[in-house]
Amino acid sequence: MKLRRSMLFVPGDNAAMLSTSFVFKPDSIMFDLEDAVSPREKDSARLMVFQALRHPAYCEIEKVVRVNELNTEFGAKDLEAAVRGGADIVRLPKTESAEEIRALDGRVATIEQECGRPSGDTKIMAAVESASGVVNAVSIATASPRMVAIALAGFDYLVDMHAKRSDGWEPELFYARAAVLHAARAAHIDAFDVAYGNVTDDEGFLREVGIAKQLGFNGKSLIHPKQIELLHKAYAPTDAEVNHARRVIAAAEEARRKGLGVISLDGKMIDPPVIEEAHMTLELAQAA
């Protein structure tokens, strides 16, 4: 079960960040070729990311590449760099329809074949940044077997919605968060909450993390390394939660040993999802 609590954004054109970001040990690193890179530097950034993907320091970390939209002059080349460079996941920005995911899937498959990468090895995640994307979240999330995650990108979405941005964005993002989460759960993939832009406001960040965790988001897009540890700690289960999880797993074990069809704990029935959740809790505890 791959933990995806923290996805650290690293601008693809920034040599210092590309050279050091692995030390922060996020669950995933996202090399950005899209919004963080100016058009005249896209070619240079693409090569930087290609080389970084292949660097030994990054081999243990899940590597995501945010490519430019496929209908731009940059997108196709970005894909070549990402797949050939060995990215674990390609992140498609501004996803609005399942068709876009299917098209991406096809292109990735072609490149895998051309460069000898095992078919299906490259995964996909979709970033939803508009009303259309939110409304199509379910079909997007189920559009391809390569899909492993769906993320909500808050800023662009709110602009698209003509919403006024309040401090915590809570009411404005309510529907979008819910839609993305439902889509993720229905498709059995991971869900990422929005990035928190104010790097000096730890309190605000943690408040938002609390909301994301409460709602059930697997993780959050992060724009600064210091947010990683804050997030991991916040996602760590409490001792009580850990103990409960251990008891659930123990109960399941016992039921299996006794050949019982039904698992119960403290007089309540335990369904498989609860057991899965217990495993996840222990993993989170271990990783914190």
Binding site: F9, A36, R40
Partner: protein, 346 residues
Amino acid sequence: MSATRDFYIIQPKDSPPEMAEVRKLLTTNDLELDDEIEQFVVCRREGRIVACAGLDHYTIKCVAVSEDRRGESLSLQLGSEVVKLAAERGQYHLFLYSAPRNLPFFRGWGFYPLIEVPRLVVMMENSPVAIKIYCDRLRKQRRQGRQIGAIVLNANPFTLGHRYLVEQAAAACDWLHVFVVKEDASLFSYDARFALVAAGVEHIGHLTLHAGSDYIISRATFPGYFLKEKTIIDHSWAAIDLLLFRQYIAPALGITHRYVGTEPFDPVTNHYNADMKHLLQQTPSAAPPITVLEVPRASINGTPISATEVRRLLTRRDFTRIKQLVPDATFQFLENECPRVPQTAE
């Protein structure tokens, strides 16, 4: 969410309110705004312009970083943005002038010192090897002789006066090197001027005609923008160009004598000639001194021949008088060029 988004370019003429901010930043850094600057790279953070750097053709000017932001990163980003802006405009060979105490700052920008006027200014270029490569190329054109002369001409256009100067110098030297000023800042283009010079000196055998360069009377070799004292501006203006000639160009070609025509009309050139005598002959330097010889201008009917006069006559379409002042090739050129030159109704 990228730091480089804070950087953008402003055209001084189009952005008065932003230029007011830039001016303020420059003033707090003891700098005066240079009117020749064509574009500014600025960095805006938290609503204020905190760094700026101007570009005048291929010279970087007016570099300032707000005192509270002086860490490495911002200034190196600024330098990168300026270099990229220049590259977009096709300018890869860049120069700048710096107070000597700021030399390390600009070394961080990949600039290397060329000429220093002690305690006043240091001129730098963005290459560790460009001047060396240029001099190596010149060295291949060295000629033997006891008296090796040099003339730098703008020749806008080439007149009988220029021809006279070249002939006088050639007569006295074992070999003569003639350079044409490269900047396209004159009425006639560099290519046109060069062609007329070439035609005009064809008859002299022991002469090499050199293409102009960034190192000889170019936009880059005119410093002084950031010095408030006008008198110092005049002196350092000439100094850089002349010291470059003395320390690099002359030794590469073995030049012993430099020839100039007397300058009765233009005060700036007159001043330059005076500085030339001082800097090439008298100023102590590791490089050997060069004798400066002023050749009296050729005259017609008592009036010294000047390119300025020829251009003036051209605006009045007075080809009769022009014919007296220029060789044939130049005359034919002027006749052809004439429609392009505005006519004055005097």
